[in-house]
Subunit: 379 residues, 2 copies
């Protein structure tokens, strides 16, 4: 224990611990400062996320890192992680730029997404009322005077829930957050004469802040209240992307339903093999572990939820499912025939589709794999 | 520009910049300290990675974070990122605990993995000689006196390359790093009478350090030199996992070839759809962007390399390909028939296979998604 190595190591490690102690002290100070920034932004109705400030902060510190002989990527990674903390802390104090959408009723407000919206709207000082199964008897009183009605119910229920709503006041904005947009928008437009807006938040209920989170916006019947709501989302830091509902739905079928299905099939396939998950994990390089993680995470969720998502979209998705199957079959045939040229040609076609992004994806995934390795704990 | 908000914000931001400046100074100091630790470890032949020290360092700072009202996860994330830097810096100075495997000849030493091993062995003071196509004429001189011959050639070439090697000295260790293990081991054992070892590094040539990187070890004909080489890998921080070659190869077929194939098919499928990659990206929530990234990254790589990997393994993988296709067909049939019960039953079976890991995967992927969001840059 007191070998020359141990003595010298202990001395160096004590000094490293002093550096790290200083880090924690600095983080405590920085937290207090960013909280004050949050309060100011709330007071003045300024956005939580200011891209130019973020860029300037990072550029300045990268330059300093270069001068000090420190890896600028290390500094940037740490700064970005600290910024997440600051965005999270600033969630506690949010400006209100949409006073005219208060009070707001969240239909399905006891679901996970409903609760997320309820919390965020409340933090911005908007009065939130919940209308879920438990509140059904008081529906009329809850809806009375509502300026925003936000539908947050399962995908299969949306159209029905909208149709069964009582008549809403003309100055009320009706919004849904379903992951399909055409049918809910049609249902809302035919039920309600006032403003109508379709939103698709591209995130789950477990996000820690709204900064840089994408929300797809499909316009229904616009007006002052829709504008206020979109401004409010922007103040929270979200990235708003306008898109026609039909285009959105087509893209979503490819992205969401097809990925669910192939992931679902892959999970079943793995379960049939004579290998335990542990054996498969051991033989997985980091990139395969990441893929395994993304297959496995599906099965932590509700069988009914995912079955419903796949079934609700089946009519639209059927041609895609067949196209995928044909592509698989064609690839299998080429492998059976030993058709190397054919396989390489197919590879090159897909390469063209991904074009410059492929290289970008490679860089991005390398950065993520590094982070996954950082988090690894061995015995 | 000089509104009350601006004035107060500028003041707070100056103070935040002071915190961040202090961070960079601290990182510069810490780098110097970890470099000294690296030199000590080299001198005393100690491992780069000491799990107990890592755990102790993190525990102490998490406790301090709690006392200071700082999020301990923030502190742990930053510490782990700083440790990566320290492991990278310590790569410059590596101990040698395998003096008897020097000189070492790397067959295929001009490939990316060959260069990675060459660099690492050299840093540990082991003499490295490269034997690639360009050096073929001097083969005999290069192999003369070699104590380790490391085969790092494409998967299709291994058996041939081994068979064509001249007779090696009895005191030479013959090793391969191919991603299949049975056939290379057989070829090496029949060609060489001395020590033989099969390794499969579970990482690509672009890793920044060897700490926590998994290497599967398949024993051939053991002895003193094999033990030294494994000790050397452990000193670099790698995680060694012993496994029979047949078990390894079966698991790899499921993990590697099946994932390549389904990813390859998915990429082709996407390329056929009437949507641009940008449209698809916009409609992707972070988890789908991650999946898209992992499909796209394949196509940044060589068509020939991936075609060869799939074709080389085709005979072994054919039953797996058929099983995957049958699973897909069965799922499609259930969807067509509206068999919700059947789909939910299939889901539950896969859920059982993933059991507790599914929840763990969900947590892990959430952490990675947070990190991916941190890195996002919006205009």
């Amino acid at each position: 224990m007191s070998s020359p190595l141990q003595i010298q190591l202990t001395e160096l490690r004590d000094q490293i611990d002093q550096c790290d102690t200083q880090l924690v002290e600095m983080l405590a100070r920085r937290n207090k400062l960013t909280e004050q920034v949050g309060q100011l932004k709330k007071e003045f109705g300024s956005p939580v996320y200011v891209p130019a400030r973020e860029a300037q902060l990072i550029t300045a510190r990268r330059e300093q890192a270069n001068q000090y002989g420190v890896n600028p990527d290390l500094v940037e990674d740490i700064l970005r992680r600290m910024m997440r903390e600051s965005y999270q802390n600033q969630q506690a104090e949010l400006a209100c730029v949409a006073p005219d959408i208060s009070p707001c009723v969240i239909v399905g407000g006891e679901g996970a997404m409903g609760r997320l919206f309820a919390r965020q709207l409340s933090r911005s000082g908007i009065e939130v009322r919940i209308l879920d199964k438990a509140q059904q008897a008081d529906q009329q009183a809850i809806l009375d005077g509502a300026k925003l009605v936000l539908i947050s119910v399962p995908i299969n229920a949306v159209v029905n829930v909208v149709a069964k709503l009582p008549k809403l006041a003309a100055d009320c904005l009706l919004v849904d957050i379903t992951s399909v947009k055409q049918k809910p928008l049609e249902a809302m437009l035919s039920h309600h004469q006032g403003e109508v807006l379709g939103l698709h938040p591209m995130f789950g209920p477990d996000i820690e802040h709204w900064v840089k989170q994408t929300i797809v916006v499909c316009q229904g019947r616009g007006g002052e209240k829709s504008t206020q709501l979109l401004n409010q989302l922007a103040i929270w830091g979200s990235q708003l992307v306008e898109m026609p509902a039909d285009k959105h739905d087509e893209a979503m079928q490819i992205v969401q339903v097809m990925r669910h299905l192939t992931t679902f099939v892959y999970g079943q396939f793995l379960a049939k093999q004579p290998h335990s998950l542990d054996e498969i994990k051991l033989c997985s390089s980091p990139i395969y572990q990441l893929e395994l993680m993304m297959v496995g995470r599906l099965f932590a969720q509700s069988p009914e939820l995912y079955t419903d998502i796949m079934m609700a979209q089946f009519d639209n998705v059927a041609p895609l499912l067949t196209s995928y199957q044909e592509t698989y079959q064609a690839t299998l045939d080429k492998l059976k025939e030993g058709d190397k040229e054919g396989l390489m040609a197919a590879f090159s076609e897909a390469k063209t589709f991904f074009s410059d992004s492929a290289q970008h994806f490679l860089t991005q995934s390398k950065a993520l794999l590094n982070k996954a390795n950082d988090a690894k704990v061995l015995d």
